[in-house]
């Protein structure tokens, strides 16, 4: 076969494969919209579930997921950014650093259900937080840490080394350099990483299974020591544990969860695009 023709075929195949990648996402979203859009209404979003969850809305689950996402942010962001700054700016190339990196890689590889069990053992039982938003947020925060650390570290590293050298050569201290030259320019990348990490956390079921999620709790939580409903677990419950559940409510719930997660991702993408355009160098 002539070389040009081989080239043409190869390109066609590769392009087709690339397009195949977007098919599942279109299919999933289309399927959920088709089946679930009928369930969406103001009542669906603003009312607690009623009548064995077969009627009413999702309000406690939506708010629970929002609380948990915020809790995850509070738990994971300071630790994650602190670790990223340490690893990229301060840590020497030694055994301690390598051990920390190895730990982070392994943390990323742990199945989410194991996080759930760890959360149960460590936060719910040992620290006696009970099944609570606090325990759930800490568990989700722990799970989000590796993503957060690695994206933040990458963002920090992408700040040109010259800015650091120049800043130090003008008599700035190391911390001043990080504070004024590194972090401001790494911030867009860090924030993108935070949002993406949180969107993962918002959709997780296993880590909240034993640590916070309530089967049915129409009242809203009063403190971080209260249990809460959460969308992913609620979806699991109504899909598998409640007989006679109308399909439309199941699909509607899935659609709401997906919209929350996707809108977080969208915010991250738009934010990143804007900040990249504003960048001067």
């Amino acid at each position: 076969m002539p070389r040009q023709q081989t080239q043409k075929i190869a390109m066609t195949v590769i392009t087709a494969v690339a397009f195949l990648v977007i098919l599942p996402i279109i299919f999933v979203i289309g399927f959920l919209i088709y089946n679930g859009i009928g369930a969406l209404s103001w009542e669906f979003l603003s009312q607690p579930p009623r009548n064995g969850m077969t009627e009413g809305g999702l309000l406690p689950a939506i708010l629970g997921t929002i609380f948990l996402t915020l809790g995850t942010a509070v738990a994971a962001i300071p630790l994650g950014i602190g670790a990223a700054i340490y690893l990229s700016e301060y840590a020497g190339n030694n055994r301690l650093t390598r051990t920390i990196r190895l730990a982070i890689v392994n943390l990323a590889g742990i199945p989410s259900i194991v996080y759930g069990l760890f959360g149960l053992g460590a936060f719910v039982l040992f620290l006696n937080f009970g099944t609570s938003i606090l325990a759930g947020s800490l568990t989700l925060g722990l799970m989000t840490l590796p993503v957060l650390i690695s994206t933040a570290e990458e963002a920090i590293r992408s700040v040109p080394a010259d800015f650091r050298t120049v800043s130090l050569s003008l008599g700035a201290t190391r911390w001043q350099t990080i504070r004024h030259q590194v972090l401001p320019h790494a911030l867009p990348g860090i924030i993108t990483g935070i949002i993406l990490g949180l969107s993962r956390a918002a959709g997780e079921t296993a880590p909240i299974l034993f640590t916070v999620a309530a089967f049915y709790l129409p009242e809203l939580p009063n403190s971080v020591f209260d249990q809460a409903m959460a969308l992913p677990y609620h979806l699991f419950v109504i899909s598998t544990q409640v007989p006679g559940m109308p399909l439309q409510i199941q699909y509607g719930t899935a659609l709401v969860l997906l919209l929350i997660v996707l809108s977080l991702t969208l915010v991250a993408t738009v934010f990143r695009t804007i900040m990249r355009r504003r960048r001067e160098w």
């Binding site: 050298t165 003008l170 700035a172 001067e280």
Partner: protein, 252 residues
């Protein structure tokens, strides 16, 4: 006259084992324009970076010997290295503005040193721009991004940024590399003004530039100082064969 900078038996080895400097001794006098001349990778930049301890940034670098500034050892633990870098300020080969406005760049070092008074900052900005021959082009653009300047303007901004700190010594690491001839002559012209007030240590862009600007020259080769002398001695009457070969263009 006592030396402004006294380099004493200074050696430096990089973590990969490359010995960039090997027992360098040099005295640099106040308010002279001292040029470190030599082929690339002979250790000139390393020497320059040791003078304000930017060499500290080399993780695992090994130093022997020392540098005295006004008789004070700068490598003692008591040395305030941040104050040292304001006294002995570096301009790099590639113009590197910091993100932000021209004004931000000029006041960055001062603000990091804790200076907040707006009038003083403004005054330093104006004076440093004059000294770096950037006032006419820059005075109406202080609020513009420093990246909007041309290459030659950026380099003069970097020079002005160092001058705003009112340093005692200015280290110039090939400040005209990549500049057009007009910008180069502007920078060279400002050197003659600068040495009235500051001690200037410079790695030149070329042998010709060394001949144009230097009061005294050290010829550096493979991490060692081969010969030190006045401009005319090095170029007209070098004592070492290698110096002669280098300045006449036989190698380098």
């Amino acid at each position: 006259m006592t030396a402004k900078l006294s380099i004493q038996n200074l050696s430096f080895t990089y973590p990969d084992g490359i010995r960039a400097l090997n027992g360098v001794n040099l005295d640099i006098k106040p308010r002279e324009l001292f040029v470190l001349m030599g082929p690339s990778r002979s250790g000139k930049s390393t020497l320059l970076r040791l003078m304000n301890r930017l060499s500290d940034l080399v993780d695992g670098g090994q130093r022997e010997g020392t540098i005295l500034v006004d008789g004070q050892d700068i490598f003692t633990p008591e040395t305030d290295v941040f104050a040292l870098r304001r006294r002995i300020s570096m301009v790099f080969a590639i113009p590197t503005p910091l993100p932000g406005t021209i004004y931000d760049n000029l006041t960055y070092g001062l603000k990091m040193a804790g200076l907040r008074d707006r009038a003083t900052l403004d005054e330093r900005v104006e004076r440093s721009l004059h000294q770096a021959a950037l006032w006419d082009e820059g005075k109406d653009r202080l609020g513009d991004s420093a990246f909007a300047l041309s290459g030659g303007q950026k380099q003069r901004l970097c020079l002005a940024r160092s001058l705003a700190l009112e340093p005692e010594v200015i280290l110039l690491d090939n400040p005209t590399s990549g500049l057009d001839p007009i910008s180069t002559s502007l920078v060279e012209a400002s050197l003659f003004e600068l040495k009235q007030q500051y001690t200037v240590v410079m790695v030149p862009h070329s042998v010709q530039q060394a001949a144009r600007v230097a009061d005294r020259i050290a010829f550096v080769l493979d991490g060692q100082v081969i010969e030190v002398g006045g401009n005319s001695q090095i170029f007209v009457n070098p004592t070492d064969k290698r110096t002669e070969d280098y300045v006449t263009g036989r190698f380098g």
